[in-house]
Symmetry: C2
Subunit: 196 residues, 2 copies
């Protein structure tokens, strides 16, 4: 209908959000226009601001609005340790543990040849340059424990070890608070192999 | 972190979309900034345009950009029939059947006293005014067959019948293409009562 052109455009635009299909997009558009126009305006401004201002840290490649992010600039952090994660969300998860005081490198993705994401797309060259700055002595691989995350860790490990860096991987094992009876067999097997 | 202020604002704004929690919002923000900045800009513009231009049809209350929507203006439609639906999406579903050529009234909601949505919020006064225009002879209630939709239909029926209008309800029964064995008992019971 010609008199709902802007509504259709909005529904199409909402479908570009990950995990949002035709019905969800229509429901979202309907909700925002009927019940939360203020929220819609807020979101419109937030999107436009973020696109203009958010860029990548030139050292660790995470999202930031400065040339170098506040974590990389933090002089109290241990610059000899570099933890490699897939996404800023993974970095936040590690930060919340307060168990790590080194620096990070964010791949902003994972190797996924079927989707056309190779070493270049995850910035392996950037990581290599960063890790070989002469200060970093240990690279901790904290990519996810999925097939793609493991492959990514493997490829990075091969590349960095060839440069003489110490490369470690987060330990696999039984999650805290869990009962063995309910833990999957692969995890128990790994916990047995990596026992200490 | 102060250097990710715009990113946090974006995540908070995305959480105002229905069905989007903290993790989904972060994933959406991450995806748009990393892989689809063009889509983010598109969505920003679409939201702002829609908020500015989309309003309610003065006759049927559906979303439109004109004073009166194209459906209400369509002279070929049967103006003696008025079909009451909850949302524009329900209206679209009925339109797709091509089985109805009358006009519509869109409640933009349903009675839900627990959420503070009473007759005033769903515009019962507007519907009353619209249905009593002297042309409408039959009001077809096509609210959903949920508890709230049924309540809404019941309240509207009571109000309109008091004004001497003929009020009908979509038939309940066995869905087309279904096998009785797999149809729920409530539906079969209704189909028996409403047999023809």
């Amino acid at each position: 209908m010609s008199d709902t052109h802007n509504l259709s455009t909005l529904i199409d635009a909402l479908r570009r959000l990950p995990g949002v299909g035709a019905k969800s997009a229509a429901r979202m558009a309907f909700h925002m226009l009927q019940h939360d126009r203020e929220g819609a305006q807020l979101l419109s401004r937030a999107l436009s601001e973020a696109v203009q201002k958010v860029r990548h840290c030139s050292r660790c490649y995470t999202f930031t609005e400065a040339e170098v992010c506040s974590t990389c600039l933090d002089a109290e952090r241990d610059a000899t340790k570099l933890c490699v994660v897939e996404t800023p969300a993974d970095q936040s998860a590690l930060e919340r543990t307060s168990a790590y005081r080194g620096l990070y490198f964010v791949l902003m993705g994972k190797l996924s040849p079927l989707d056309g994401i190779g070493p270049k797309e995850i910035g392996l060259h950037r990581l290599l340059e960063r890790a070989c700055d002469g200060v970093v002595t240990e690279v901790i691989l904290a990519t996810n424990f999925t097939a793609e995350g493991e492959t990514t860790a493997h490829v990075i490990a091969q590349t960095l070890k060839a440069r003489g860096l110490q490369v470690t991987r987060l330990a696999r094992g039984v999650p805290a608070g869990s009962e063995l009876e309910y833990v999957d067999l692969g995890t128990i097997a790994h916990a047995l192999v990596d026992r200490r």
